[in-house]
């Protein structure tokens, strides 16, 4: 395995909460507390269609409302989802602190209009230059995995072994690793920091750091 040149950060679950959690939070606000979106039988297919741009955000939300909250508006659910999509500043702080030798990409797994409407979007853009924002909904992929992995290596012009995928979804990281792209499951900023230190990508322990002691 060669030296890592390029890091891909999966937005949902790492920089913002993952889509199922956004949905669960938004549905709870609308009176459906403790509703697991995975109970929605078509959830997996609908969310893959949403991520890949085959279904727009409003249609996705309307389908969920029709199932969970008959009579409610998909637009209302959509707005609530966007309000839940709070950016994790500590993750972005770590990404900004990476040495410049690492190319940094973000994989956006939200529909493009949702990404544009994120109130914290600027913070994300500050971390990743425009050409390193990969909107899955505009990538024209038939499937997320493994198709995305070839696209990532192509766009970065790097062999897969020089890339590193960082994502909160364990399945995706396992699929990537099995396909030949190094990957790490990351659930929060403290664990991201630990992983980057282990891989010698950032400097070791700083005793004055306000959250390095949190693990």
């Amino acid at each position: 395995m060669g030296e890592t040149n390029c890091l891909f950060f999966w937005m949902g679950g790492l920089i913002t909460p993952p889509l199922p959690n956004l949905l669960a939070g938004a549905l709870a606000e609308m009176g459906k507390t403790r509703l697991n979106p995975y109970r929605f039988q078509s959830f997996q297919q609908h969310s893959e269609d949403l991520i890949l741009g085959r279904l727009d955000g409003t249609a996705f939300c309307q389908a969920l409302c029709d199932w969970a909250l008959p009579g409610c508006s998909g637009v209302d659910l959509e707005n609530r989802i966007l309000a839940q999509a709070i950016v994790d500043d500590r993750i972005l702080e770590l990404i900004q602190g990476l040495p410049v030798r690492y190319a940094r990409w973000v994989i956006v797994d939200l529909p493009s209009p949702w990404f544009l409407a994120l109130k914290d979007r600027k913070k994300i853009i500050d971390c990743f230059s425009d050409e390193k924002v990969l909107l899955l909904s505009e990538a024209g992929l038939p499937h997320v995995m493994p198709d995305l992995l070839d696209t990532l290596a192509d766009r970065a012009r790097q062999p897969m072994s020089r890339c590193l995928l960082l994502a909160q979804n364990a399945h995706r990281t396992i699929q990537a690793l099995n396909y030949g792209m190094p990957a790490a499951v990351i659930t929060d900023a403290s664990r991201l920091k630990r992983e980057l230190i282990l891989r010698n990508m950032i400097v070791q322990f700083d005793p004055m750091d306000r959250w390095s002691l949190s693990l």
Partner: protein, 139 residues
């Protein structure tokens, strides 16, 4: 001695989904205010487990490889003869993994090592809500 219990529901995609619930257990222990005792984490299903391990992608991939060798997903399990569900592999894997873990609580802190995480493994073939019981006892 005080005993406090809580049931939590975990969002899971199933299919050997490994979910890190360490932070939820830490929050539960903190909220209990118990200083010295034990915390129990118990998985309430027959197609998964709770383990203590490192939440690392390579380890998870290796575990899946291991279980695919000894309990392949695609195999004519006798459990399938009942024609109710087709998750024989998940039941067998669950039978050789722990359903619960116990972690000491000392001075209000869950005594986990640097790389130890409390991991829920859900191997159900369908996406179902997964229930986990958290219980802390002590004083």
């Amino acid at each position: 001695m005080t005993v406090i219990s809580q049931q939590i529901e975990v969002l899971s995609e199933g299919r050997f989904n490994v979910i890190n619930i360490t932070d939820q257990v830490k929050q539960f222990v903190n909220a209990s205010r118990i200083q010295n005792g034990q915390a129990l984490v118990y998985f309430k299903h027959t197609t998964g487990a709770v383990i203590i391990g490192e939440h690392e992608t390579g380890i998870m991939a290796d575990m899946i490889d291991l279980f695919e060798r000894i309990t392949p997903t695609d195999y004519p399990y006798k459990h399938h003869l009942r024609a109710v569900d087709y998750n024989g592999h998940a039941h067998l894997r669950a039978a050789v993994m722990p359903t619960s873990v116990v972690v000491p609580v000392v001075q209000g802190i869950l005594m986990l090592g640097t790389y130890q995480e409390i991991l829920l493994i859900d191997d159900q073939v369908e996406q179902e809500p997964r229930q986990v019981i958290l219980q802390v006892m002590g004083e």
